[in-house]
């Protein structure tokens, strides 16, 4: 079964500094990977996805993610953090990309990002 691990419960970074939120995955076959962000009392907002192609994926709000097949990682990055980036971040993998039906997502436990001014 597919699984995702987010090894850090919380990441603290100063405004203007680069940020990284870590994600590792375990899948059979090629992974379909996603990052979502959740603000308090809101649903999940899609940030970016990796399906195939370039290992560096660019997404919304200046975020990007680096896919590393050998390390089975998909870390979320941003060159310069903003206070407004403070939120809960989820990494997810599609359960079975080869299935005709079913785009069930398997989520990590989430990482709280705190950006201090």
């Amino acid at each position: 079964a597919q699984s995702v691990a987010q090894p850090e419960d919380q990441v603290n970074v100063a405004e203007g500094n680069p940020l990284t939120v870590k994600c590792t995955y375990s899948v059979s076959g090629n992974p379909y990977l996603f990052w979502y962000v959740q603000y308090p009392n809101r649903g999940l907002q899609f940030l970016l996805k990796y399906i195939t192609g370039d290992n560096l994926v660019k997404g919304s709000y200046g975020f990007e993610a680096e896919f590393n097949k050998s390390q089975t990682s998909f870390h979320l990055k941003k060159p310069s953090a903003l206070v407004s980036d403070s939120a809960l971040y989820f990494c997810a993998v599609r359960d079975n990309p080869r299935a005709e039906y079913g785009n069930k997502l398997v989520f990590g436990a989430g990482t709280i990002l705190r950006v201090k001014s």
Partner: protein, 115 residues
Amino acid sequence: DAGVTQSPTHLIKTRGQHVTLRCSPISGHKSVSWYQQVLGQGPQFIFQYYEKEERGRGNFPDRFSARQFPNYSSELNVNALLLGDSALYLCASSPVEIRSNQPQHFGDGTRLSIL
């Protein structure tokens, strides 16, 4: 365009009661999925529906059921509520089903509290 809409936003029930949660997908999206997010955890998959048929089911008891209507909106029903059913219930829609790599778009959820 309107995003995924869910109703109600908040709900308080007591143990043993029944609840119905509603979801309207983004216009043009035919696939709807339901997730349960317990406080401090990532969302857990409950159901997926496409073209009014169940296409996937997570590891949830039979107390949980759902359906999709001809307009692609969906309902999630939970019977015999337990304290452990307290959670944020998220609905997600996506435009294409078969071997889709399109991201799912989530609503803001229904926060269900069981007393």
